[in-house]
Symmetry: C2
Subunit: 312 residues, 2 copies
Amino acid sequence: MNEFELIARLAGAAPTNASTIVGPGDDCAVIDLQAPDQYLLFKTDATVEGVHFTDAATPEEIGHKALGRCLSDVAAMAGTPTHALVTLGLPEGFDVGFVEKIYHGMSALALRYQVAIVGGETTLNPGQMFISVAVLGTVPKGKCVLRSGAKVGDAIFVTGELGGSLAGKHLNFEPRLKEAQWLAANYSIHAMIDVSDGLAGDLRHILKSSGVGAELLSSAIPISRAARLGKQRDRSAKPPLESALTDGEDFELLFTAASHEAVSLLDAWKKQFPDLPLGCIGRITAESGLRIRDKKGAQPLAADGYVHFQKS
Amino acid sequence: MNEFELIARLAGAAPTNASTIVGPGDDCAVIDLQAPDQYLLFKTDATVEGVHFTDAATPEEIGHKALGRCLSDVAAMAGTPTHALVTLGLPEGFDVGFVEKIYHGMSALALRYQVAIVGGETTLNPGQMFISVAVLGTVPKGKCVLRSGAKVGDAIFVTGELGGSLAGKHLNFEPRLKEAQWLAANYSIHAMIDVSDGLAGDLRHILKSSGVGAELLSSAIPISRAARLGKQRDRSAKPPLESALTDGEDFELLFTAASHEAVSLLDAWKKQFPDLPLGCIGRITAESGLRIRDKKGAQPLAADGYVHFQKS
């Protein structure tokens, strides 16, 4: 357990109350504050210079990412974001024009999803820019999807293509809000998360919360062009499959549903979202742990996502 | 207009939507999300090492202040805080035990007001600790008190004693939640704010939002013992009255109500909160600007709070 995991454990032991449906440990907190048909979703994400973006990012991209990370978390609960607050920690002598463009990037994304930016704060943070966004959202009471609902036999799905997001997608991804809302409205989605830590890491979050295991099908993992190009350009880079399993910041949806719904779901998806691939990549198992299968058989997936296939 | 004011203007021009009752510019955002009788309150505050606290603060005090600042903002709307998210930006090699004590300070305060800490995030922030707390709360629809409701002729009230909070109170203040709720439940409070920028600065926020002016009575300003002691110990320190008008971070309530209610309110307050002074310190005027009156007459109060009284 590293220091950051220790802190997460502290946060998990924090005070709760009767209106808290889901506290720490899912993509958003889920809260019941007397609205008859809906829960509230509550989430913060920090975006820090040198950690989440570098000099290579435009200010508009920084703003997009800072808000988009939170919206992606709301999507992972099948919710609708409604309001955001923006906290900016800025070094002394910051460039007002640059910060204005960060707001433009955020506002463009907020407008697209009717999210109101209702305030926030600007303060000094010597050394680097620190952006913390807090988002409020809603979800119909029967349609909120948690990490904890995966069932043995479920099919596992992922949207889009994975890996290599540092080449650009981590700054200009589209949060999968309308896709998640459509899924929850039309199918019984058992568990869902957004891919921020990498497919393997985020699937492990679902498995841990649900008390199950999983087997992925190697040939079904959707590998992005960026992950393939990365390896072509730099032979010392991760193999594309490992990149797809572990890179993170894809901001795609990873979810499970009963396997007998898989064909109908894939068909309906193709009509609804013809431009966004949806892949069925494996199944939930009673046996705990995460395995990956190729034509030679199933192998455990290492914690770092490295695939220990035997050489052919 | 300095850089930070420019940023505030950018935030003020951000996207809004139909469920936003009050956006940027009050102590909290006010949101209507379908709960029949209540609005939601939504607020973030950042607490930064070297800006809002120094080495002299204990970790418990840092945690108390980080959450307490948000709770004080909820109090300023006469609301009830319900849920919080905690974002910690920590330098590399931080002390886990120190951070644990920050959580203890926050949790002790949260428990006292039944606030659930429902998650958050820990991330790297080289250089110094950066704590951003987001708080959600509720307020009965008819009882939410804004900055904008002050009326000509209103009496101006302030709780507690002001000035010199850097000597300690800024780290261990009690958010005036039950006092504000009692005020809104029993009286028609026209405008309210918590004293964070200093009495003069925060009263100016009320005046600007309400389109009115004010006259303070010099002898009625409640000056704290810390402000008086500060001047006794250091002759170059601000005069105690100036300290009370401008120091800030008192986290007391500053509010206005119809002057014909003043006597009844002061009487009832003394019975309800015998240990916390409430002072009537001036009145709202049609003439714009902020003036302060002593036995020699009324003088404009300078932007920096300096009181230009003639020498006697």
